[in-house]
């Protein structure tokens, strides 16, 4: 490690760090982070995922990764790998059971996120993806202030209500001078399995306007796909392929 001009601990073997953020819960941050990581891995890159959602961790379940986490002789944590070779670290890998409650106040949340960045043996990575929790409290502040982020991918859904809370997170990024790489609009539409019609269940989307407001691009619009939800629940998010996702990875 060495300190960069902003005083953040940087790791020379990790080329790029990108956080997936939204402020609002349930919009599909973890799913988007997992699809992004899987897409980059399919292109042959070395990829890692750091689950910064300490009290609501879901990355290990998405990738079907479980079991004990080991340390090397120097005490560095060895991150388990997914079926596709993505390195993963999450609090859920350190719990007795995945549904154990993590009842931690801010300082402990901050400490574990710093440990995931500094004490995990990431090795040579092209990209490290950070899955952020909802809200703009300790976890988000710690990641934006202590990790050398190259950029943020902001995830939203079509509802105005979601849009308002997502703008809070985007405004935080502006205040903490973290660049926004692009916007992903998720759950933009669903297709009726009976009659094939295109349904805008949560109304018309605002991804386009949000991207213009923050001077960035709309990376893609992802439809609600029961197949994706099924693969997520089955720990096989890496096997999902859809043309909605390809432009996001580019």
């Amino acid at each position: 490690f060495y300190l960069d001009p902003a005083g953040k601990k940087t790791n020379a073997s990790v080329k790029k760090v990108v956080a997936v953020l939204s402020g609002k819960g349930g919009v599909g941050k973890s799913t988007t982070a997992a699809l992004l990581a899987s897409g980059l891995r399919r292109k042959g890159l070395q990829v890692g995922v750091l689950d910064a959602d300490v009290t609501g961790a879901s990355i290990p379940k998405l990738f079907g990764v479980s079991g004990a986490v080991f340390q090397d002789e120097q005490g560095k944590i060895i991150p388990p790998e997914s079926a596709g070779g993505i390195k993963i670290i999450s609090i859920n890998l350190l719990l007795q059971s995945e549904d154990d409650a993590v009842i931690w106040r801010g300082p402990l949340v901050t400490k574990i996120i710093k440990q995931f960045w500094e004490d995990v043996k990431w090795g040579d990575l092209d990209v490290l993806i950070i899955d952020m929790p909802p809200g703009t409290s300790d976890a988000a502040i710690t990641v934006m202030q202590s990790l050398p982020l190259n950029g943020l991918v902001v995830v939203t859904t079509p509802q105005d209500l979601a849009d308002m809370v997502v703008r809070k997170a985007a405004n935080m990024a502006l205040q903490l001078k973290t660049p926004i790489v692009g916007i992903v609009e998720n759950m933009s539409y669903a297709i009726c399995p009976h009659c094939g019609e295109h349904l805008e269940i949560f109304g018309p989307g605002h991804g386009e306007q949000l991207a213009r407001k923050y001077n960035t691009q709309l990376l893609g619009r992802v439809g609600i796909d029961p197949e994706l939800s099924r693969l997520c629940d089955a720990g096989q998010v890496e096997t999902y392929a859809s043309q909605d996702v390809t432009p996001i990875v580019e």
Copy 2:
């Protein structure tokens, strides 16, 4: 105020305090809290809503309440009322603009929640509903440890992933000895506007199993209704009436 046997500050004029919780974001906690408050108000009860989601507040938007908040001569905060007469307090009422980021670490989040309970002039209330943020960190710990909760309504959605994170919050409630009044399963189904078919977009639900696991009852299953999402975005959640919601209010 006086201190109850558990050392919590209780307010004699507030008969019951119920928190709406899920652990997972985006499952419809704020929407369920708003529907519950509106249903109880329609039955003639005096109702208040305390928005404990400090960094992702959405209660004022759901009820169409905005504008300045005043204090009386003793410095007590006078909560604005919704069109239907529900008293509301939220950080969003104290910000310049509803999409301002609230970049606060745990101690400040804790302080404002305690102030919302102790320094707001609630008057005589039959029920105070607390809308909880996602996660099991500072806000959830503060509410369960410092407010005299009568019970929790836990909201979930059909995906396994949501179910796992919701169980974390339910396990927290067990550890902090807070009774669970019931489970609400939201987004259980959608109805195709073209062919009228019943679609389980996020798969079959687990609300029934979750209720059995925590020895409580399933209060109701609410379908995805674009009309509800539209009314929420328009600040008119109080005008939504559906037979999915009536059993929850009972």
